[in-house]
Symmetry: C2
Subunit: 336 residues, 2 copies
Amino acid sequence: MKIIVDAMGGDYAPEVVIEGAIVAVKEYDVDVVLVGDEKVIKALLLKHKYSGERISVHPSQEVIGMSESAASSVRKKRKSSIVVGIDLVKNRVGEAFVSAGNTGAVVCAATLGLRLLPGVERAGIAVVAPTLKGISLIIDVGANIDPKPSQLLQYGVMGELYSRLILNKPKPTIGLLNIGEEETKGTEIVKDAYELLSKSALDFVGNVEPKDLFSGKSDVIVCDGFVGNVMLKVSESAAETLNIFLKRSILSNWLGKVGYLLLKKSFMSYKQKLDYAEYGGAPLLGVDGVVIIGHGRSNVKAVKNAIRVAKEEVEAKFNEKIIEAVSKTGEKLQVS
Amino acid sequence: MKIIVDAMGGDYAPEVVIEGAIVAVKEYDVDVVLVGDEKVIKALLLKHKYSGERISVHPSQEVIGMSESAASSVRKKRKSSIVVGIDLVKNRVGEAFVSAGNTGAVVCAATLGLRLLPGVERAGIAVVAPTLKGISLIIDVGANIDPKPSQLLQYGVMGELYSRLILNKPKPTIGLLNIGEEETKGTEIVKDAYELLSKSALDFVGNVEPKDLFSGKSDVIVCDGFVGNVMLKVSESAAETLNIFLKRSILSNWLGKVGYLLLKKSFMSYKQKLDYAEYGGAPLLGVDGVVIIGHGRSNVKAVKNAIRVAKEEVEAKFNEKIIEAVSKTGEKLQVS
């Protein structure tokens, strides 16, 4: 299996991407094609003493910056690592594409280059979030900021499959993010999506309120990409801000400093629990190809895990299952 | 000054509401009318040894539950403490209404009973959130889940005034919540609101991304009520979940337990920083009367502070300022 990896994407690229790829090929029995500045990549492979056969380099001349406009950068920078990498998947050089670069650009390049799977109306980004009971999958977190109710239903279908086949939950439940529990709550679009989800074959548990986001009330949480993106970023930001507040108040007195030393191990295990790097990247579901979007701040472990997730999705023949599932949406049937 | 207080609203009502009122009349030189079950309230006043003249009781026979549907409960329960309390403000028995009860019902009863201020299109709930630099005001967090761009502009205008006159920030900046910094980001409604805010007299600093929610990038953050409600609840929930994770990992070993004892003071000061009770209730801005909505889990301090905020809003003749400001929206003028 060959995974195409955007060597230039992410805040700490290319170095951490290359290190992550080196670890991944050893651990997961996959080949990796690194797309990007050939000279720089080869120098870094040398620096990290990699001389194996499993990693090859495919040159690309341009880079799309993390804050560039998605649509126009994909249109203009045809030689960027993202556009070139997606083309390699399109032309079946590799089975999957992994990038920790500009999320909007990856979504745009993948949707234009790979097209949507038959029957899928819009692609959605799914992320794994830690909860008090384990993990939940949130879909969509930014690919589609203005979805129709039928698209939210499809996110439920794709999320259920991902949760079952990749996250290994035997009978995933589906919730709809809403600002109240009653089915009469929310915007017209959310109310219509509620009805569609109720009538579907999914194990729909109704509305999930934002206060229950981390309680693990449902295995999958469906929402529009605007709200999903806000939730994701606010959670991250809340966690970081809380840690800063806590550190400030702990280090403001000597008793705190001593206590902090004793607690170091606990703080580490707590941080690990919240570490996005543990969960790998976020799959872009619904496009005709496996695409994994890594966190902008991906470190070596995150890159490695994103490659692992890509491999698992390919092995599960995940996209074939999506085509089958969306074709049966509405019927009381489940794909396995 | 007389503040009408819903004695039956909130998870810990009526007891904490009555205790909060007792503290408030002593501290803030206001009179309070407690609305609710007369017998119960009088017994609790006795229990807490209050026999002064500043607190009176106005009976109401019904209670709207925390999870009842807003519109239908307000329509059906005309004798509820919320509807009766709003009527007392409407009939000028008191200058302001404070409730920690069902938020939707308070918004609904206030909008129907008090009507909107001249020129105001929709009411909005504003909340104060702690940031790394101090505090920010978020508006709207749930009154209006499907706002028009012009309504978002008015939230900016009302938020600026509140931030300046009540929170005492000399020159508040206004930001628009969006999933990217560029003005081309977001839904059509958000893009149109961006344009209106840019052209207004407000000190508009552009889009504020959710990751900057707690960084204090702008003094006021404008958003629709659906997204605002999600942000608020997700932040609360993230904070609680993090504390649970942290406690679990700390108490899992004896070194942690010792460290925890040394850190107790730091944890307390950290918790206080995040305590909503410090900031009092959330004002419902735009209705013809002062209405403060307390957190459902309001404790004595939160009730007391909500009464303080109500008093400050009345003293500032805040609603007159809103009428003046919205009438000038678009002109390069500011009300002081």
